[in-house]
């Protein structure tokens, strides 16, 4: 069986699910915050607004969103008894797992794209005359996307393991809120995956502008933690999904 068929099947399940509101929620909120921020960097017209928006988007909403997406993508299998139906289809369990994974990544891509658009909208509404620093915002959104990968892997694991909508979300919320504090620690920030979206997005923006926001003390730690936690959570989650008993 073709993997693309499994993907199409997963995608169809999102119909009427109002997922678009969740995708747009954080970018829209960030736009509002961007419009009203008073932060202004004299040498760069867009920088203050964009930085404020990045902080609002990446500190809390982005990590939370990974959990919401993961829960959403498993929600109807939990409530409607769909697991036993999906898993008796002639496809491997891993295909099901990674189809769900990819749909989450796609939703995250939509969110980040919406966020890039949101920064442009906010600046344009504020009447900025300098050209929109698209590349810088794009790099920031891209690194933010990467920084979400370990969280998605973990959340999908929890969502398929706990077989409930609320369980993984609660775990995610509890681990996300300390992230703002932990991100401020040069030592622990890079080691804490929930702080990664914030660290990644802010650092990537300033780095692409030729500066250093100083959020990231050790880029190496950041990337090592990101890659290893992503690999670990993906491996454990998918193996668990494949091995578990579907009672």
């Amino acid at each position: 069986m073709m993997f693309s068929n499994v993907l199409k099947s997963e995608w169809l399940k999102l119909k009427h699910s109002k997922v678009v509101f969740i995708v747009l929620a954080s970018p829209v909120l960030a736009t509002v915050i961007g419009l009203f921020t008073t932060m202004h960097v004299p040498e760069h017209q867009w920088l203050g607004t964009i930085t404020t928006m990045i902080l609002a988007h990446s500190a809390i909403f982005l990590p939370l969103l990974t959990g919401v997406f993961a829960a959403l993508i498993c929600r109807h299998e939990h409530s409607g008894g769909g697991w036993k139906q999906v898993l008796t289809l002639p496809v491997s369990r891993l295909q099901i797992y990674f189809a769900k994974f990819i749909v989450i990544l796609f939703l995250l891509t939509l969110t980040q794209t919406a966020f890039i658009t949101a920064t442009w909208v906010a600046g344009t509404l504020k009447g900025f005359s300098d050209p929109f620093p698209f590349v810088n915002v794009f790099v920031s959104a891209g690194v933010g996307w990467l920084a979400c990968l370990p969280l998605i892997a973990l959340q999908l694991w929890l969502a398929t393991m706990l077989k409930s909508f609320a369980g993984p979300s609660v775990v995610n919320v509890m681990l996300t809120f300390p992230a703002v504090v932990i991100a401020n620690s040069p030592l622990f920030g890079p080691m804490y995956p929930w702080a990664h979206p914030l660290l990644g997005m802010t650092q990537a923006l300033s780095y692409s502008l030729g500066g250093d926001a100083g959020f990231l003390d050790s880029a190496v730690t950041f990337y090592v933690v990101m890659i290893t936690s992503f690999a670990l959570f993906t491996a454990v989650g998918s193996v668990h999904f494949q091995q578990r008993e579907w009672v």
Binding site: L12, K15, G80, P90
Partner: protein, 306 residues
Amino acid sequence: MGNQTYLLETNDLTKTYKGTKVVNGLSLQLEEGEIYGFLGPNGAGKTTTIRMLLGLIKPAKGNVTVFGKDLTKERIAILKQIGSLVESPSYYPHLTGKDNLETLRKILQVPKSRITEVLEMVRLTKMADRKVKEYSLGMKQRLGLAASLLGRPKLLILDEPTNGLDPAGMIEIRELIRQLPAKYGMTVLLSSHLLTEIDQVATKVGIIAKGEMIFQDRIEVLREKASRKLHVQMDDWETGQKVLSSHGIETARHDNWLTMPNQPDGKIAEIVKELVYSGLNIYRVSEEIASLEDIFLNLTKGEETL
């Protein structure tokens, strides 16, 4: 193992939960074209067995062979030809009935027209474009049945398929299931805790109690297990009892009825003749056949029977 090839066969299938064997040494054989009634009280291990047949859970011991292939080794190839409905129906409430089937069709790769066909088969055509959250339990059950038929399976495994249906719906679905082998060449395994459900469609019966298979054969054989009794009503039962006892037949009495184990035709004629010659007035001679329900209850109530 026998040299006969079965469509589905389990050997010594065992599942243990927390030290208790919920399925114990189950050997189940299903021949092509059969409707196999898998019968047992709630909690006997039917659903656990079915989940093992579908590879949803792994047996602690034993193996499952379907279409001559080992389930652990060729699960996907086997599942390609199985349709199933396990316990409650599975559905996506926010999608229409048609879209629910479409999520499965994309993977099963059957033509779109097949969705119309199966909806027709379960009489759900009118509801096809309504969201499933508006469906009644019976409609969801029909949708589940439609889903199981979607891939034109060779083997259909249905766990309590008439759950939640009203009596008319039950008859309709039973009729549908009954036609499947002849019309579409399907083989069906059907579980139920109600004997009447099985009795009306099954060609073969497997009875499970406390995780063990206690009976497996054609349904006619089950009927023969019925303990038949002969009742004779007469005016003077005391004389009657003496007469019969002199012929080596022990009887029990209730009012002026004498009850004895069933006898062959010739013997019954002889008994009646003797009784009449002894000057008794015979009012009634009747045979009591234990219903299948009685047999089932007898089989499943304890380990002493069989």
